[in-house]
Amino acid sequence: MLRFIVRRLIGVIPTLFVLSFLLFGWLRLLPGGPAGALLGDKATPESIASVNKVLGLDQPIPVQYVKFLGRMLTGDFGNSLSKSRPVVDELADAIPATVELALAALIFAVGLGIPLGYLAARRKGGLFDNMTIIGTLVGVAVPVFFLGYLLKKYIAVDLGWFETSGRVTAGLDETKVTGFKVLDAILTREWDVLFDALSHLVLPAIVLGTIPLAVIVRITRASVLDVMNEDYVRTAEAKGLYAKTVRKRHILRNALLPVSTTIGLQTGLLLAGAVLTEKVFVWNGLGSLLAEGIERRDYPRLQAMILVIAFVYVIVNLLVDISYAIIDPRVRVR
C-alpha cells in the first residue's frame, strides 16, 4: 500500500511541470498584460511600458518562464497583482475558507443524501421515493448561482434567518488560530463567534451541497436497490439473521462502494461549484480568488491556483482509491 501511494505521488511531479509550462505560456499570450491590471484606470501606454520593463515582462516568454520556475521551486509564486500580497499568503487564507465550506457542504450532502437514498430504495415506488426522485432532478437542474441568490433574498434578507454574506460579521472581535472559523471559535471558547460563523455557513453550504446531495441520493438509491437483489442478501435473510444486521452489514456496506467513488468525484466538483457559491455569498475562499483573478487577469494568482487545484484533485483521487481498499478487503489483496 505504501509503495502504491509513493508511486502515485511521484507521478504527480512531471504532470505539474508540464501543466505549469502550458499555463504560463497561455497566460502570457493573452492580450492585456499584468501591467495594465497593476496600474488601473490611469494607466497610459508609457506607464505600462515602464512597469513591463521593471517587471521583466518585455523579455521573451521562455526567459520569463525560467525565472518563474526558479522562484516556484523555492515556493515563491510572487505577489498577486490585485492585492500586492504574496500569492502563497492569499492561498493560505483562502484554503481554510473553501475547505470549511466544502466540508460543510459535504456533510450536508452525505449526511442527508445516504439516508434519503437508502429510504427511497426501501420504499421504492412509493410517495417518498417519487418525491425524492423529483427532488433530485430539481437539485441537479437548478443553477448554483440562481439557488444562491434565491435563498439569500428570501431566507437571509427578507426573513433574516441566516446571514447574507461573508464568514463572520465584519468587525466581530475574534481570535484567529487555524483560519477555520468554526474550529477557531471552539478552540478559544468564543461561543458568540461560533454562533456567528455557523449562521454564515449554513446557506452557502446548502447551496454548494445541493447538487452533490442530489447525485448521492440517486447513486445510493440505485446501489441499494442493486444490492438488495443480490443472492447473498437473500441467503443472509434465509439464514435468519436480524433484519438490522442484514441491512447494515450486507446491504449498506456493499452499497457504499460506488457511493464512496461518487463522493470523491463530487468533492472535486465542489471546487468548481465553490467559484459561484463564494461569489454569491462573498465567501473569500479559493473560488472567489479564482473568479477575481480571471476578471482582473491576475496571472501570478491564476498560475499558482491552477497548479494547486490540479494537485488537490490528484490527492483526492488517491484518497478515493485508498478508501476502496479499506471498504473492500478484496481490493487490498489485489
Binding site: G36, T44, P45, K53, L81, T175, V280, S288
Partner: protein, 549 residues
C-alpha cells in the same frame, strides 16, 4: 459488547471535544463604543501609502486617515484650506508659499509642521528604485520627473525644492509653472504622512515580487496621517479595513467611533448587503437599480458629474483627417436621445471635453446638435459617403462615465449608419487588450473612452487628451498643442481660466479631434439611518460627518 464499544467511542469524542475547546487563548479586547459606520466597497485597497496608489477603492480608506494641504469645499470642486490655511502663488508661478494650520498632530503624536511638508515632498522627489517610481502614477503625471529618473521615467522634474521658512510656513519652488497647481495639491495621492512613521517603517521600500510589487510595513500596516480616522487593522483574508476615530483630531471629531470598509466585489451581493442592513453605504450602484432602491426607502444621492465620455476619432485614417467628416460624425449622433435612453438620471449631453464643474468651461462653444441632413451633406461634400469605420468598444466593464458600453455603441452605430457610414464593430475586453489597442496601437477609426477628473483644472481634461501627439487620436497639430501649453503656462488665475475657455471654443470649432458625448453622474446609496453624508463630484467623500441612527 458492540453497544459498550459504541458508548466508549461517543464518550471519548465528547471528552476530546471538551478538552479541545480550551486549547487556545482568546485574544479579544474590550468592545468599542460610539457607533460604527460600515461601507460596502467594490474592491480591496492595494495598500495605504497614498503616493503609491491611483484607484478609488484604495483612496477611500486613505482619504479618511490622511489630509492634503488643500481640500475641496464639501459637495463641490472648489478649493478650500486643508492642512494649509492659505497659499500664495508668486507672479511667475514658480513659488507656492503655504501657511500651515497650527496645532495639528499626526496619529503617532508627532507634530505636523513645515518640516513635515517638506519631508513628504522631498521624499517623493528623491524616491529611488524603478519599482517605486513606476507605481507613483499621480506623481509622474503632475510633477513629471524625479531627482534621478530610473526605469523608463524620463520627464524633467517640475519640483525644485521645499524650504521650511518657519514652523508653519513651507515654500515650494518649481522649475516651471504648471496649470495643475495649486489644484493638484488636492489629490489624495499627495496626502501628508508622518515623517517619523515613514522612516520607522521603511516606507520607501518597494520591491519586485514576481509580476507584482511588495510594499513596506508602513504601506500595509502603519499608515499615519492627520485625518479624522486612524488605522486600526486590515484583515487581508476577509478584506475588511477597520478605522477608529482620531480623538486628537484638530477639527470636529468623527461622529462614529469606528468605520469598517468591507470589500464586496459582486454588485448584486453589495446591494443585498445594503438591503439586509449589513452595510450602511455602497458606491456606484447600477443605474437600473436606482429607482428600486429609492422605492425601498434608501437614499440615492446623485453626484454632480466630473467625467466625460467621448467618441475618439483616429486621424491615422486619411479620410478622418478632413474636419468635414469629423463634423459629419458629430452631427449624425443623436446625443440627446442617447443620454435619455442609455444613461442614468442626471446625465447630460457634453458640449465640450469637460463638465461645467471645471474651471475653463465655456458656455458658448460651437454645438453639434443632431442634424442628419447636415451630416449627410458634409459627408457628400468631403466625398466620404459610405465610408467604412472600424468602431472599437469595450466589454466586461462599466465605468461611471460609461455604464453600458454595448448599449451606447449600438445607439451610435445606428446613427452613423443612418448618416451613410458603414460600421465595422470590434469589441475587446477592457482588461484583455482594449486600452492597448486603442491607446497604444491606434488600431481603431472610432472608439469609446472617457475620463473622470482628478482635480479642478481644465488641463486635467483637455490637456490630458490633446496636449501631445498620441496613437489614440493619430494627429500632430502644433497649433493645438501650443495653445494648450500656453493656457497651462498662464499663471494669473483669471487669465488661465479665460485661456482654457478659448481652448475649448477652438477645440470644438477648429480642431474637433474627437466628439464629446456625455457626462454621467455616479450615485452613492445609503440606508435611511444614515445622515450627514455630503457627496463630492470627485467621488472623494469624507465620512467623519456621517451618523448612523
Amino acid at each position: 459488547m458492540n453497544r459498550v464499544r459504541k458508548a466508549i467511542v461517543v464518550a471519548s469524542c465528547a471528552a476530546l471535544a471538551a478538552s479541545v475547546a480550551a486549547c487556545a487563548q482568546s485574544e479579544r479586547g474590550d468592545e468599542n463604543t460610539g457607533g460604527t459606520l460600515t461601507f460596502g466597497a467594490a474592491g480591496a485597497p492595494k495598500n495605504f501609502d497614498p503616493i503609491f496608489n491611483d484607484d478609488g477603492e484604495s483612496f477611500r480608506p486613505i482619504r479618511q486617515m490622511y489630509e492634503t494641504l488643500i481640500e475641496h469645499k464639501p459637495g463641490t470642486a472648489e478649493l478650500e484650506p486643508g492642512l494649509a490655511e492659505k497659499w500664495d502663488l508668486s507672479a511667475d508661478g514658480k513659488e507656492i508659499t503655504f501657511s500651515l494650520r497650527k496645532g495639528v498632530k499626526f496619529h503617532d503624536g508627532t507634530a505636523f509642521n513645515a518640516e513635515a511638508v517638506c519631508f513628504n515632498l522631498d521624499r517623493w522627489f528623491n524616491m529611488k528604485g524603478a519599482a517605486a517610481q513606476s507605481q507613483m502614477i499621480y506623481y509622474a503625471d503632475v510633477w513629471e520627473g524625479f531627482a534621478k529618473n530610473e526605469g523608463d521615467a524620463t520627464g524633467q522634474p517640475v519640483y525644485k525644492s521645499c524650504e521650511a521658512k518657519d514652523e508653519n510656513t513651507a515654500v515650494v519652488s518649481l522649475n516651471k509653472f504648471k496649470g495643475a497647481f495649486p489644484a493638484a495639491m488636492t489629490l489624495t495621492a499627495f496626502s501628508i504622512s508622518s515623517p517619523e512613521a515613514l522612516k520607522k517603517y521603511d516606507a520607501d521600500k518597494v520591491t519586485q515580487s514576481g509580476d507584482s510589487f511588495t510594499y513596506s510595513a508602513y504601506a500595509n500596516e502603519h499608515p499615519t496621517g492627520t485625518g479624522p480616522y486612524k488605522f486600526q487593522s486590515y484583515d487581508t483574508s476577509s478584506q475588511v479595513a477597520t478605522l477608529v476615530r482620531n480623538d486628537d483630531y484638530w477639527g470636529d471629531k468623527a461622529k462614529n467611533a469606528k468605520m469598517i470598509i468591507r470589500t464586496i466585489g459582486d454588485e448584486a451581493a453589495r446591494k443585498q448587503e445594503l438591503e439586509a442592513g449589513n452595510v450602511d453605504i455602497i458606491d456606484f450602484p447600477n443605474p437600473v437599480d436606482w429607482k428600486g432602491l429609492k422605492d425601498k426607502g434608501f437614499n440615492v444621492q446623485v453626484r454632480r458629474a466630473f467625467n466625460i465620455l467621448y467618441l475618439g476619432i483616429n486621424q491615422k485614417n486619411p479620410k478622418l483627417k478632413d474636419i468635414r467628416v469629423r463634423q459629419a460624425i458629430a452631427y449624425a449622433i443623436n446625443r440627446q436621445q442617447l443620454v435619455t435612453s442609455k444613461l442614468p438620471d442626471g446625465a447630460q449631453v457634453a458640449t465640450q471635453f469637460m463638465p461645467d464643474t471645471v474651471s475653463g468651461y465655456a458656455d458658448d462653444v460651437q454645438k453639434y446638435d443632431y442634424d442628419l441632413a447636415k451630416a449627410k451633406s458634409l459627408l457628400q461634400e468631403a466625398g466620404a459617403t459610405g465610408l467604412t469605420l472600424k468602431f472599437y468598444y469595450p466589454s466586461e466593464i462599466t465605468r461611471p462615465y460609461m455604464p453600458d458600453p454595448k448599449g451606447i455603441f449600438t445607439a451610435i452605430e445606428a446613427d452613423l449608419k443612418a448618416a451613410g457610414f458603414k460600421v465595422q464593430p470590434i469589441v475587446k475586453p477592457w482588461n484583455g487588450g482594449y486600452k492597448d489597442d486603442v491607446q497604444k496601437a491606434g488600431k481603431q477609426d472610432l472608439h469609446l473612452l472617457g475620463w473622470t477628473g482628478d482635480y479642478n483644472d481644465a488641463g486635467n481634461f483637455v490637456g490630458t487628451f490633446f496636449g501631445r501627439e498620441k496613437p489614440e487620436f493619430g494627429f500632430n497639430d502644433p497649433a493645438l498643442f501650443s495653445e494648450l501649453s500656453a493656457a497651462d503656462a498662464e499663471t494669473n488665475p483669471d487669465k488661465h481660466m479665460a485661456a482654457y475657455e478659448q481652448v475649448n471654443r477652438d477645440i470644438m470649432a477648429k480642431f474637433l479631434p474627437a466628439i464629446p458625448i456625455s457626462h454621467s453622474p455616479p450615485a452613492i446609496v445609503s440606508s435611511s439611518k444614515v445622515k450627514g453624508l455630503v457627496t463630492s463630484p470627485l467621488t472623494n467623500e469624507r465620512f467623519d460627518t456621517v451618523t448612523v441612527e
